[in-house]
Symmetry: C2
Subunit: 329 residues, 2 copies
Amino acid sequence: MASTIYDIAKKAGVSIATVSRVFNESNNVSEATRKRVLEVAEAVGYHPQAFAQGLASKRNNTVMAVVPIISNYFFMEVLGGIQDKLTEMKYELTIFNVTSGEHLFEEVERVLKRRWADGYLFISVHLSEEQWKRLQRLNVPITLVDEHFEGFDSVSVDNIQGAYRATKCLISQGYKKIAMLSALETSKPIRDRLTGYKKALKEYMIPFCNEYIVSGDSVYRDGFTERGGYEAMIKMLSMEEPPEACFCASDIQALGALKAMEDVAKYIPIIGYDDIELAEYIGLSTIRQPMKDMGYFATQNLLERLKNNSKAISQTIYSPELILRSSTK
Amino acid sequence: MASTIYDIAKKAGVSIATVSRVFNESNNVSEATRKRVLEVAEAVGYHPQAFAQGLASKRNNTVMAVVPIISNYFFMEVLGGIQDKLTEMKYELTIFNVTSGEHLFEEVERVLKRRWADGYLFISVHLSEEQWKRLQRLNVPITLVDEHFEGFDSVSVDNIQGAYRATKCLISQGYKKIAMLSALETSKPIRDRLTGYKKALKEYMIPFCNEYIVSGDSVYRDGFTERGGYEAMIKMLSMEEPPEACFCASDIQALGALKAMEDVAKYIPIIGYDDIELAEYIGLSTIRQPMKDMGYFATQNLLERLKNNSKAISQTIYSPELILRSSTK
DNA sequence: CTGAAAGCGCTTACAG
DNA sequence: CTGAAAGCGCTTACAG
């Protein structure tokens, strides 16, 4: 059986309070005592248990990342930034994977109530205004990434702006029939990007044409998949009047679109969204989201709030950057 | 202040034991009582706290993944498999990022002693025989991924075999001067892949030539980076007698190598290792590791051990698969 | 089916 | 600098 604080206290001839102080680096311990305790602890392989510490102290030096999907590029990059900051500050990371179905809200609420972590990072979790308000009542430190709600700190990228720039780039190359390769419109990023796309068309007085908003049929991951992009591009290219150029709602869909174009040997310029690592290799023009920075900054923000919960709520919005490569040439 | 089990018990007119039973889905509760408790809990937004449950029950339905690096392809894929299984079994995932420096062992030992999780998955954590033995004494359920030690369950891929196949593939195409684009030899996968490379050469009676083992100069991530690959390939191509073909220790290095070849406009066939998603897009021949399967299987294995710690220790070794694409044509 | 009570392994005022 | 003691919020035999 593993030893507890009592065993150490007894063997070192001190009280458990003293042992606790040694491990919590309180400076109210004499050097001799500290040394003795540490020696005993080392000998039997003792270290305070996380759960007991957590319960007694009501803190646990853990941040929980709540995410709808774990193994994708966007999340991986964001996570990289989160981890950098967390390691720097000696916090631990717990990942909670919500299943994004109809019980999303209940799942999220439940995990907050369990008080697993000191603070929470919500990555690409999209809830209704009403639902965010309910979470607010739980009074738990939360920072939003890739989402926006006035009651919580948030870090996001201006999706409208990004789509606008992408579309405008295509327009400025002289194209008029510009399609948008879309996904499920229940997805918030999609709605925003659609808005930006329309805004650009309007500005250049190009009539909006609903047929040019095309999605694939697969709904897995809301359509943000290579397959979704493939399906949509096949549809586009077989239209009576195919578009001359295409703005894709994500790089991963653009990848599928690229494949589709190869398969039917018809090519139109396309531009993606995200700037995943792959984009550079295949020469995909895209809109860059500073994913890693967002993760890092959001974490920093959350940790500051853990220190001082009364600080003002801040909304950070990054500007997306247009990256031109060969796919728009 | 959030309510506790006492508040619920009082409001529902039952004991805390009963409230506890309701939330633990014990069936020894009358339907009427259960309903009443649930109603009260719902009204005040109560849910048992993870840490209190964990301390009292000595279980916490959490698995911890111990990883040296978080945002890379290999890990992302493995993690995807882990998460699938964990979600299926309603376990939570905690990620612990060891910093891979000189205190690696101490860090790892400490986290095990803290008893954060019910079980641990070590991904690409390479320790000495001696160190693994010390961890064994902690008597904690551990499953190794991408590593092998007889005292723990493990899931890995035969690196020697993989490198052997890659090299043999190049030899069979008629090349004799075959280089290996390597990385830090302190890395265990590198040592194994080197062994496989040599084995193939020997089998075909091609003399081993130490100059043909080339690494980049950057040591970040043990050299498993695009940059490391770039640097190494530049070196190779500027040799007096450049190799005719090259086996790269990882796809990510192969990527850098590809860039280097473009930059100096000299091309030789190369083959990578891993089969990251990117590989398909750029036509990189490679050795596939079933990363997602490994994660899934390792997790399943660990969860079984949590149920029954006396089951026999198993070593699972996957065979790597040769994937031929355009980079070797 | 239900409750009283001990216990999980710590932290933290409080007192000295 | 140190200790005694209460408390963190649960679970789980045990008894009925």
